[in-house]
């Protein structure tokens, strides 16, 4: 069974640009979660999508947004990039109402 996949592996942007990160959940999973893992800050919850709807968001500004497609894959968009947005962005998936969240390998975003 294929796990959660994320693309790209690495992304380098300059301040002020926009970044788009992609995630494909485990087959059969309908929920997708996004987390930010920044150095020294641990793992922080960003967004949760289920059945195409945003269900919950963490304490992040509105320039962090995303969506979930009909095939349950998801996209995270970060607008007006700032240096402190440099981090590993992790996507996780679970079955609907499932407790277990399984993570992908992450996308390393570097903002110069």
């Amino acid at each position: 069974e294929a796990g959660v996949t994320q693309s790209p592996t690495h992304l380098i942007k300059t301040r002020g640009q926009q970044a788009t990160l992609r995630c494909s959940p485990i087959s059969g999973h309908t929920s997708v979660y996004w987390y930010q893992q920044a150095l020294g800050l641990g793992l922080q919850f960003l967004l949760w999508y289920d059945e195409g709807e945003e269900r919950n968001r963490g304490n992040f500004p509105p320039r962090f947004s995303g969506r979930q497609f009909p095939n349950y894959s998801s996209e995270l968009n970060v607008n007006a990039l700032e240096l402190e947005d440099s981090a590993l962005y992790l996507c996780a998936s679970s079955s609907r109402l499932g407790y277990e969240q399984f993570f992908g390998p992450g996308t390393r975003l570097t903002v110069l």
Binding site: Y35, W48, R55, G58, Y99, Q101, G104, P105, G106
Partner: protein, 114 residues
């Protein structure tokens, strides 16, 4: 405000020893407590998890002990091996209106010496 506090930050254990990592939480809205293992350059991997109506869960060399009244839970790794060297995160899942999201501890870097 840190909702889940994890200790120690780092831990060095000899091969064959027991590794113990502790976590404490404040919020009684948490309804599920997983542990994740993360190797450098990889995403966190779900190791073992427990619900608050259970006091202990064992899977192979890994055991979670859960104390609901003290709001504490811990991970015990028996017979620790060099391959267990990784960063370990405890987490707590929100129920209620914040349902679904995980709040993580700050992580423990475990080094197992051969």
């Amino acid at each position: 405000q840190q909702q889940v506090k994890q200790s120690p930050q780092s831990l060095i254990v000899q091969k064959g020893g027991i590794s113990i990592i502790n976590c404490a939480y404040e919020n009684t809205a948490f309804d599920y407590f997983p542990w994740y293992q993360q190797f450098p350059g990889k995403g966190p991997a779900l190791l073992i998890a427990i619900r608050p109506d259970v006091s202990e869960k064992k899977e192979g060399r890994f055991t979670i002990s859960f104390n609901k009244s003290a709001k504490q839970f811990s991970l015990h790794i028996m017979d620790s091996q060099p391959g267990d060297s990784a960063t370990y995160f405890c987490a707590a899942r929100w129920g209620g209106t914040s349902y679904g999201k995980l709040t993580f501890g700050q992580g423990t870097i475990l080094t197992v010496h051969p």
